[in-house]
């Protein structure tokens, strides 16, 4: 059973990681990267690393998208 959960998590991480690279628009990439981060957190949780999973969630779901989105907003404002 736990092998199946880990396998799902690994496939999820591999697929979403590839999707992040293949997405070319930075705005969409930020969202896809969020799904990738969620997959990583799920993988850590399935490997019973609760502390690491929590750190991954707060960095991948809060800190990273926020900084990417605010930077994009600044760049677009400069272009107008």
């Amino acid at each position: 059973m736990s092998e199946a959960v880990i396998a799902v998590a690994l496939v999820w991480v591999a697929a979403s990681g590839t999707a992040v690279v293949l997405t070319r628009d930075p705005l969409r990439q930020a969202f896809v990267a969020g799904f990738f981060g969620l997959g990583l957190a799920f993988l850590y949780l399935s490997l019973q690393a609760g502390d690491v999973a929590l750190s991954q969630i707060v960095v991948g779901a809060i800190a990273l998208p926020l900084i990417v989105l605010l930077s994009l907003a600044k760049v677009r404002k400069g272009r107008e």
């Binding site: 609760g50 502390d51 999973a53 707060v58 809060i62 800190a63 605010l70 600044k74």
Partner: protein, 252 residues
């Protein structure tokens, strides 16, 4: 360097990397395999020696506390660096956005968004405090709880506007909390020296295993790290937010 010479250099370097990386990977324990002896020893010792139920906390804040000290200063350095980088430059000026059409009616945020922001921000504060204070018992601790606390401010911004968020983040208090959190770690470390043991020794009473206040210096360190991380992440967000909302290029 000619194209051919570069190719030769790359092939040699790539081959050397492949060999060393392959040898290193072959020496790793198998995936999901047996627990290493270090982990087994700590699993056995940490609850008895440090009276904690989350062994990871005991490792990051006690057995390997000095590593966490350096990581904390890396975060402090990063936040200070971003503050310096994102200051108003000589050709930029701080100016709150002006309403060019004050007569138009601005639709207020929908009640659903407002309600969600109120509920989520208070829940996030509660979850953040819970994560920081229960670091010795359950997964989580100062770092994770600090970021969760800071994210409550982001939710306030999403539900309201820039002016409201400004009221929640007085700059002197934020900068002070970042510095106090970072230096607090050092001061708690010095307690060990004062007690005649080594730096960062766990010299405070350990308490009863399973109680919220147990584990000696571990919950104290969690607390100061939480204060530092929460302050640092709010500073980070407000610096980036200032760039988009307040700082603009000076007209010539």
């Amino acid at each position: 360097m000619s194209r051919r010479a570069r190719l030769v250099l790359f092939t040699a370097a790539a081959a050397a990397l492949a060999v060393t990386l392959g040898a290193g990977l072959a020496g790793l324990p198998s995936f999901g395999g047996q627990i290493t002896s270090y982990a087994r020893i700590l699993n056995e010792l940490a609850p008895r020696q440090r009276h904690v139920t989350d062994v990871v906390s005991a490792i990051t804040f006690d057995y390997r506390g000095i590593d966490t000290l350096f990581e904390e200063f890396i975060l402090l350095g990063a936040v200070a660096g971003i503050s310096v980088l994102l200051r108003p430059l000589s050709d930029e000026t701080r100016q709150l956005p002006q309403d060019k059409a004050p007569d138009r009616t601005i639709p207020p945020p929908s009640p659903a968004v407002w309600l969600l922001a109120v509920l989520l921000s208070s829940l996030l504060v509660l979850t953040g405090l819970e994560t920081i204070t229960h670091g010795t018992l359950t997964p989580g601790g100062g770092f994770q709880g600090g970021v969760i606390l800071a994210s409550a401010i982001y939710v306030v911004f999403l539900g309201t506007n820039y002016a409201t968020v400004e009221r929640f983040q007085p700059a002197p208090l934020l900068e002070a909390s970042d510095g106090v959190g970072a230096s607090g770690y050092v001061f708690i470390g010095l307690l060990g020296l004062l007690a005649g043991a080594s730096f960062l020794s766990n010299v405070v009473g350990l308490g009863v295993t399973g109680n919220p206040i147990s584990g000696g210096t571990i919950p104290l360190l969690n607390l100061v790290v939480g204060v530092e991380v929460a302050g640092g992440f709010v500073i980070l967000a407000s610096e980036f937010l200032d760039q988009t909302a307040v700082i603009r290029t000076r007209r010539r």
